[in-house]
């Protein structure tokens, strides 16, 4: 019984948990190398990986950096791939009225 549960857990885990690149902290999905190339020059990639948003959000963030923070033009294809990658892997996670306190703030 326990073994079965463990196997199921591992299966679920390998499905559900995306692989994260150790050096950059980016989820290894199609386009992540492009994000590494274009988004790590000025600031930590933590600014990217700690952020959540839909495609429109990411597009607005890029436009804002282009307008006010010296971010270069990415080119149509590259930009489309970067947006697809970000909108898929760093999408908003639904939160309720207020989330329960995180595990780090709870009694062990």
């Amino acid at each position: 019984m326990r073994v079965v549960r463990l196997v199921i857990l591992l299966l679920v885990a390998s499905e559900a948990w995306p692989k994260v690149d150790d050096a950059t902290g980016l989820i290894e999905d199609v386009g992540w190398r492009m994000v590494q190339a274009h988004c790590s020059g000025c600031h930590d990639l933590k600014l990217v990986t700690a952020q959540r948003g839909n495609r429109e959000f990411w597009e607005q963030t890029i436009r804002w950096m282009q307008k006010t923070q010296n971010l270069w033009q990415l080119g149509e294809t590259t930009e489309r791939r970067i947006l697809t990658y970000l909108a898929k892997n760093y999408a908003p996670e639904f939160t309720g009225r207020r989330r329960p306190l995180p595990a780090s703030l709870r009694p062990d």
Binding site: H43, W64, P92, S104, R106, P107
Partner: protein, 386 residues
């Protein structure tokens, strides 16, 4: 005007302040803080480490929009004052400010406008601060008012803007990282300082030394670091991060996620009423039957906190706490109260402050806004009673 070369190149002399001897990264100066990013360096303080009456440098949060200057030389530092509404533009050496103008010291609360941003939904861009982008330290310096008066304030003065020596992340040496400020009325307040000391020491480089504008009770971005130039403006200052959705919120409330045009955003002035439980640490265990002494700080931007209520039953009942008067205007206030738990189990302690105008903290989130400013929802900690 002092050149960048003069500031950065004055490497070896006395009075040069680098980040710290041997420390290569700002994070090494803040081992207890939660680092949100190394570049630009941004770090916040866990609530229980804000328990001191006045926040020491070690526990003070850091918000950078750009890169900290490499090294600065207090001995050659100057402050220029100019702008359209300045009658006699002039420069002051730091030493001259210290010797020729009277010194004033105040405990001043500085909170990042985006403190609490991480709780907004839909998510908003920027550092995902939780509760720890707030501090109250003892700042000492000269009154901004005295310096402005020394230069002459024209009748049409509206705003005072600052410029600092931080460096833009893109490496462009001509690009201003952030240049905000305060309306002339706030600039003329007793407590608005051009500060050179923090907690009795020269201001650490990481916190804007050798010279920092300090405007307590307002978003901390109004308190410009590495200050070398002030401008008295005949209009609302239009420096970097004064416009767009930076430090601005919808003039009329909007539903969560609704886009807001730039012209419908208003500049944040006073920060709202808020409180933080700094003792015990969230996650504490406590024996049933014993009173638990809960304490923390409360502040209300430009205003005074009237009372702080505490609940141990998810807000169903509230008890009052002992609240100290602020040591001066714009300082945070200490609250404390014993609480009793009638049975074992998982409890949360909530606190809720109310200002003199009767405004108190929401239990859920206050109005959503495009950059996630002004989250003053009540603070909560968890306690296991056994």
């Amino acid at each position: 005007m002092i050149t960048r070369r003069a500031v950065l190149g004055a490497g070896a002399g006395l009075g040069v302040v680098a980040l710290a001897r041997g420390a290569t990264r700002p994070a090494e100066l803040k081992p207890d803080l939660v680092v949100l990013a190394e570049r630009p360096f941004n770090a916040e303080t866990p609530a229980h480490l804000l328990d001191e009456d006045f926040t020491s440098a070690r526990y003070m949060f850091v918000r950078n929009n750009g890169l900290v200057p490499n090294a600065i030389d207090a001995a050659t530092w100057t402050l220029e004052i100019g702008g359209e509404a300045c009658l006699e533009p002039r420069a002051f050496a730091l030493a001259e400010l210290q010797s020729d103008y009277s010194h004033h010291a105040y405990a001043l609360t500085l909170e990042c406008g985006g403190n609490g941003r991480s709780e907004f939904f839909p998510p908003v861009p920027g550092n995902q601060w939780t509760t720890g982008a707030v501090s109250c330290a003892l700042w000492r310096g000269v009154r901004l008012r005295d310096l402005l008066n020394a230069c002459g304030i024209a009748e049409n003065a509206v705003y005072v803007g600052y410029y600092g020596r931080d460096r833009h992340l893109s490496g462009d040496p001509d690009k201003v990282v952030i240049s905000r400020g305060v309306p002339i009325d706030k600039a003329l307040q007793d407590e608005t300082l051009v500060a050179f000391e923090m907690n009795g020491e020269p201001i650490p480089l990481l916190h804007g030394g050798p010279l920092r504008l300090v405007a307590g009770g307002w978003p901390a971005s109004a308190s410009g670091k590495w200050l070398y130039r002030l401008v008295i403006r005949d209009r609302v200052h239009d420096g970097a991060k004064m416009g767009g959705n930076s430090y601005r919120v919808p003039c009329e409330p909007v539903a969560p996620g609704v886009p807001v045009a730039d012209e419908d955003l208003c500049i944040i002035e006073s920060m709202p009423v808020k409180s933080l439980i700094t003792w015990p640490k969230s996650g504490a265990r406590h024996p049933v039957g014993d009173a638990l002494q809960v304490r923390g700080h409360a502040w209300a931007g430009e205003f005074v906190v009237k009372r702080v209520l505490v609940s141990t039953d998810f807000g169903q009942t509230w008890q009052s706490s002992a609240l100290s008067a602020p040591v001066n205007r714009l300082a945070w206030q200490r609250f404390s109260t014993p609480v009793q738990f009638q049975q074992p189990g998982y409890f949360e302690v909530w606190c809720r402050a109310e200002d003199k105008l009767g405004r108190s903290q929401p239990m859920v989130l206050p109005g959503w806004n495009p950059k996630g400013y002004l989250n003053n929802a009540c603070h909560r900690i968890a306690v296991q009673v056994a």
